[in-house]
């Protein structure tokens, strides 16, 4: 039936088959160092910056970083952790989610990995505390940003009859300026875009955080971050409505809700820099500058774009700023992973991204001259001087709550009349519904 030559070929084939049965699973390390699997939300230019940040480490140790990008970081990490295939290092969606992972024992304690004295010295208590759960350091900051900055093009703003060289001190002043712009030019002053894949809605939540902090104060804001502020409280509703007054007005916001909902945050500002501007103001965090220059490579900071901080509302709470950062944690312990995460906290590593733009480092040892332009230096100074620096309240909450927050904003923009039911649903979720 089967000739002996075939039979021999056959046996080889069978052997191959058995090999397959006990072969390696995932692509394991080839010669030349260990491959570390790292997941974070950065793509495009940000991804390039991260790769530049780890390159000196790769060169020094001969290991390699396999980077995977996903904006749906929450889902991805949950999947992998549940499936037993976590990455080595990963970005953490926020201190809230970080705490959940830490409590479930999925994160490796970093107290013994990084030099804690140096950490406290270079980063200051606030930032170290943010990465600490149950007394142990589990998260370190790759970069941070200051939120609630209002960007504008100084060249185009002059034609609107408004002068921001002395920025508005209160939100009422800003509103008056915004109305002036609208009346003088007939165009919509604001450009807003909230699309972001699975995290769509987050830019809108930034507005709400800025309002809530300045209207209700740091104490209530911190309660909110800790998940103890009811979502349907009057103060919370006021904050949402203040945002609604801007985004739901077709006179004030470019393109109306259709534009806001379908345009990705990374290109939403485009009309601001076009030859005939479609809008004049853009509310975002400090990292957005690298996105400006991606879409419009000829833009120069200060000349073509600059910012002022979100103005005060209640004078009592003046000086408070919302800050945010990209936390990193270690899911799989190994000497190489430890080395990498230690490296990432050093001023040298932090400086690499800072130099490329779009990043602010909370590490005090990073030389301010490393910032590529006066604008980013200004953001850094703002961040270091924030009093108090309030971490992004959304990031402080659990993943499920934050997802609901984002989705709530999307619903609100879609359907402004449904604010009460949106807030009530959020409150139900907060109570475990």
């Amino acid at each position: 039936m089967i000739g002996s030559r075939l039979g021999r070929l056959f046996s080889v084939a069978v052997l191959l088959g058995l090999l397959a049965a006990c072969g390696p699973g995932t692509g394991s390390s080839t010669s030349g160092g260990k491959h570390l699997h790292v997941i974070a939300t950065w793509a495009g230019d940000e991804q390039a910056s991260f790769k530049a940040m780890v390159k000196p480490w790769e060169d020094r140790t001969g290991n390699k970083v396999d980077y995977e990008a996903s904006r749906d970081l929450n889902a991805l990490l949950t999947t992998r952790v549940q499936a037993g295939t976590p990455p080595d290092l990963a970005g953490l969606p926020g201190p809230g989610q970080m705490a959940e992972f830490a409590k479930a024992g999925k994160l490796v304690n970093l107290d013994g990995v990084v030099d804690m004295t140096a950490m406290n010295d270079q980063y200051g208590q606030n930032w170290v505390k943010l990465g600490t759960v149950g007394g142990h350091l589990v998260g370190i900051f790759i970069k941070t940003s200051i939120k609630g900055l209002i960007y504008y093009d100084p060249k185009t703003i002059s034609s609107t009859g408004v002068d921001f060289t002395t920025p508005p001190k209160t939100y009422d002043e800003l509103s008056a300026d915004v109305n002036k712009i609208q009346q003088k030019t007939g165009k919509t002053p604001w450009c807003i875009g909230v699309e972001s894949g699975a995290a769509s809605g987050w830019p809108g939540t930034d507005w709400i955080k800025d309002f809530f902090l300045r209207q209700a104060g740091p104490a209530k804001y911190e309660q909110w971050g800790a998940g103890q502020e009811p979502w349907n409280s009057p103060e919370m509703k006021t904050a949402w409505q203040s945002f609604g007054a801007v985004v739901n007005s077709s006179k004030l916001t470019y393109g109306g809700k259709n534009y806001v909902l379908s345009t990705n945050f990374a290109t939403a500002f485009d009309p601001m820099f076009q030859s005939t501007p479609g809008c004049y103001l853009h509310h975002q965090a400090s990292f957005i500058t690298s996105f400006f220059t991606h879409d419009f490579p000829n833009l120069k900071p200060v000349d073509d774009f600059t910012f002022f901080g979100f103005p005060d509302i209640n004078p009592q709470y003046s000086g408070a700023q919302v800050v945010a950062g990209d936390l990193f944690g270690m899911f799989k312990d190994s000497p190489e992973a430890r080395d990498l995460i230690k490296y990432l906290t050093t001023a040298q590593a932090q400086q690499i991204w800072v130099k490329r733009g779009g990043a602010v480092s909370p590490n005090k040892k990073v030389d301010l001259s490393a910032y590529p332009d006066p604008l980013s230096k200004q953001s850094a100074q703002l961040l270091l001087a924030a009093n108090p620096p309030e971490f992004d309240a959304g990031d402080l909450q659990t993943n499920a709550m934050q997802t609901a927050f984002f989705a709530g904003v999307v619903s609100y923009i879609s359907n402004p009349g449904s604010l009460d039911s949106i807030l009530n649903d959020l409150e139900k979720k907060r109570n475990g519904g």
Binding site: T26, G27, H37, D45, D66, Y67, S70, F291
Partner: protein, 303 residues
């Protein structure tokens, strides 16, 4: 893959191909409207893909602000930069290899297993044969979402999550009902006398299978192979859940799905990436569409 069976249109399995040999029908409708409508529909069908193809050769800032059709008017600013960027930075070549690593075994293994089983269902008598086959038909309809969680736990217990072996087994399990159904139909349509004369000559089932059935079944096996290959190559959910997105193992579908989610800027990269992911299936399809089409129509062709 849980797809309902697509048996030949007539009641008994038709052994002959029906693509040629029928007299050309007369143009009984007013010809011009017929042609217009048909051509219009075809153009409409092609436009979306064409739009993507053209966009992939345009620089990003143009794609963001102007429609792809403006690329045909001067100034012509075509570029290969998108393809270069996407291949360099996004591990697309690696994903391509991963896709191959997933799809090829996930095609070969189920067909091998299905062939033996189909033969048994077609030409061997054993108790519960019909009930078992009925059960297989039933399983064709099961949405694979219903199997996700238990299989995920099963894999976790055996350390198969994130491994190629796991996904090969999963695709095999999911693809068996359809494969067995198709092959069993085909094998069953082979004439009885073939087997009778072979039996008289003293051939056992093994000989009959390897020397008789397999060579005659090449078209059906080919159709099935193409179908299964395309299915596993284009799959997203199974890879997403069981394999994950570790760049070392992620296939192209997962990589691109990640890109869609994370690239706000950079839609131009997405166009190039999507096109690269379509390249191989399109080639396979164009080269072998005859078989693919036959497969869809029950693959009952005499060799």
């Amino acid at each position: 893959m849980s797809v309902a069976p697509v048996a030949a249109p007539t009641a008994a399995p038709t052994p002959l191909v029906v693509e040629r040999g029928e007299p050309r029908r007369p143009f009984t409708l007013g010809s011009l409207p017929l042609h217009l409508v048909l051509i219009l529909l075809t153009v409409i069908w092609v436009v979306p893909t064409l739009g993507l193809l053209v966009s992939s050769f345009r620089p990003g800032f143009l794609t963001a602000r102007t429609g792809w059709w403006t690329a045909f008017a001067p100034p012509f600013q075509f570029t290969l930069q998108n393809y270069r960027d996407v291949l360099d930075s996004y591990n697309l070549l690696g994903s391509f290899i991963n896709s191959l690593t997933i799809a090829i075994p996930a095609t070969v293994i189920p067909i091998a297993i299905a062939a033996f089983a189909a033969y048994a269902f077609a030409w061997m008598k054993f108790p519960a044969r019909n009930i078992l086959f009925l059960a297989l038909i039933g399983l064709l309809a099961v949405p694979l979402q219903v199997t996700l969680i238990p299989v995920l736990s099963m894999f976790k217990n055996f350390g198969l999550n994130g491994s190629f072996l796991g996904i090969w087994l999963a695709h095999t399990g999911y693809g068996l009902p359809f494969s067995i159904y198709l092959l069993r139909n085909f094998f069953g349509a082979l004439p009885n006398d073939l087997f009778e004369s072979a039996a008289i000559d003293g051939a056992g089932p093994l000989t009959m299978f390897f020397r008789l059935v397999l060579p005659l079944s090449v078209p059906a096996l080919a159709s099935l192979a193409i179908f299964q290959f395309l299915w596993t190559w284009n799959d997203l959910l199974v890879a997403l859940v069981y394999l994950g997105g570790d760049p070392a193992v992620a296939p192209m579908t997962v990589t691109i799905a990640n890109l869609v989610n994370s690239l706000g800027q950079g839609y131009e990269l997405l166009t190039a990436a999507a096109f690269l992911s379509m390249a191989l299936p399109l080639v396979v399809f164009l080269a072998l569409q005859r078989y693919f089409v036959r497969g869809m129509t029950a693959g009952a062709v005499k060799g």
